[in-house]
Amino acid sequence: MTELAPTPSQTVGPFYGYALPFPGGGELAPVGHPDAITVRGTVYDGAGAPIPDALLEFWQAGPDGSLTGAPGSLRRDPVTGAVLGRTGVDFTGFARVATDADGGYVLRTLPPVPPASRPDAAPHLAVCVFARGLLHHLYTRVYLPEHAEANAADPLLAQLPPARRATLVAQPERPGVYRFDIRLQAAEGGPHEETVFLEFR
């Protein structure tokens, strides 16, 4: 069967801010959920400067390991058209956060779980990165440090040299809070490794 040629990517540009982010976009965890975790970090460019106009999207399996997702991330009020936001009960699996003026982002979510069909897999959050200056989005993953055994057996992590692997594992800051910085480009001669970005085949 002949494949259709895909539509090319173009940069998200600088002016998506009033279109794509939505209230509660980074509040993926159900309200008051005792297991909720916070993942926060900064997106950096190749000069080591924070990127204030990046947009991050997160996607993860449901708490039962399902990969079907659920609608309602951008739930709207049919009377006024305003964004009502998530119900606070349902888990949609999808989050979207724009970086702030300091290049920072905060995601509150449930700890990632492996897909139900592969209970031994290393759990992770899938991340898609958009930014002004980035002509084609990038994918990466957030793994958590406490799953050391599963991480060691993960086919992606296992193939990476230690310094590269470390860019995909969030750093614990305090209980329930992790740091996951994203470096779009290694600063020349800088101390930091470039984040590992992924290609799916």
Partner: protein, 312 residues
């Protein structure tokens, strides 16, 4: 600010609508300085090649400089295409688009493949709770009618096998008819339109079809180089059945004289691929005494779980 923006003089003040605004503009003098010809430059050396020498103050890049860089890169890409390379998407390091210099990875992407249970081969879903009917008509979001040429834009979202992407979220944003975004950081001195925000959303139907009513956006200036102007475009954000099929892109209008001068449009190496971003004027979609019609179909790239399960 000691960057070459000062060298732009009057133009910098007027053409303040910018993809290099704010703190980035201040520290990005190198974004506007010439770099070595692409052919002479090793792929990994681009950012350092762009650092201006402290001795010679760089002149601001002109449109002719950018046009020359783009022509060289197109010629190089054409050779690769003739040799069998398939280049659908822009490279992430495309020097004529100055903002890409520090914002692309130098390391190759790491391949992940073959596992239909991979989280990324599935994706988020949206539903009737996530949009309202008015979201698809950008001309009815305020008390009055926006200024400009009313248009409808419609098309289908397909995967590479030609299957419709059903019930998925399509989001658009755009400048108004004067080329101004309703965004605080857009300082282009063109009028804002109190009756136009420029944001739309809809879900695709069972055939994968989307449909928007809006106004034709204007071209606008930006600070990539001296006298830089973007061709009129509508930004699109699309979801497929898998997170790997995510697409953010821009739709253009036929016969725009700015195509040949725009580094974002020309970042796509293959002319056939560039043409796929240009909508068709479709007279049958025009409504008498109401609006002009454009059609634009979108094909999402990337594997999905079904794709792998079918053993492709």
């Amino acid at each position: 600010m000691t960057s070459s923006f000062q060298a732009l003089g009057q133009h910098a003040d007027r053409a303040a609508s910018s993809e290099a605004l704010g703190q980035h503009a201040d520290r990005s003098a190198s974004f506007q300085t010439p770099v070595q010809p692409a052919a002479a430059r090793p792929p990994s050396a681009q950012p350092s090649a762009a650092v201006p020498s402290p001795v010679t103050a760089p002149a601001p890049l002109t449109q002719a400089d950018i046009d020359r860089e783009m022509a060289e890169l197109h010629a190089a890409a054409q050779q690769r295409i003739s040799a069998g390379a398939v280049l659908h998407h822009p490279p992430r390091d495309y020097a004529p688009y100055r903002s890409s210099l520090l914002r692309h990875p130098r390391q190759p992407l790491v391949a992940v493949g073959g596992d239909p249970d991979a989280v990324e081969l599935h994706g988020p879903v949206f539903g009737v709770t996530d949009v309202t009917a008015l979201d698809a008509d950008l001309t009815r979001q305020h008390l009055g009618e926006p200024l400009g040429e009313r248009i409808t834009v419609s098309g289908r979202v397909l995967d590479r096998d030609g299957r419709p992407v059903r019930g998925q979220l399509v989001e658009i944003w755009q400048a108004n008819a004067s080329g101004r975004y309703a965004h605080q950081r857009d300082q282009h001195p063109a009028p804002l339109d109190p009756n136009f925000t420029g944001v739309g959303r809809c879900l695709t139907d069972d055939e994968g079809r989307y449909h928007f009513t809006t106004i034709k956006p204007g071209a606008y200036p930006w600070r990539n180089h001296l006298n830089a102007w973007r061709p009129a475009h509508i930004h699109f954000s699309l979801f497929g059945t898998a997170f790997t099929q995510r697409l953010v892109t821009q739709m253009y209008f036929p016969n725009d004289p700015l195509f040949r001068h725009d580094p974002i449009f020309n970042s796509i190496p293959d002319d056939r691929a560039r043409q796929r971003l240009i909508a068709d004027y479709q007279h049958d979609l025009s409504s008498p005494e109401w609006s002009l019609g454009y059609t634009w179909d979108i094909v999402l790239d990337g594997p999905s779980a079904t794709w792998i399960e079918e053993g492709r």
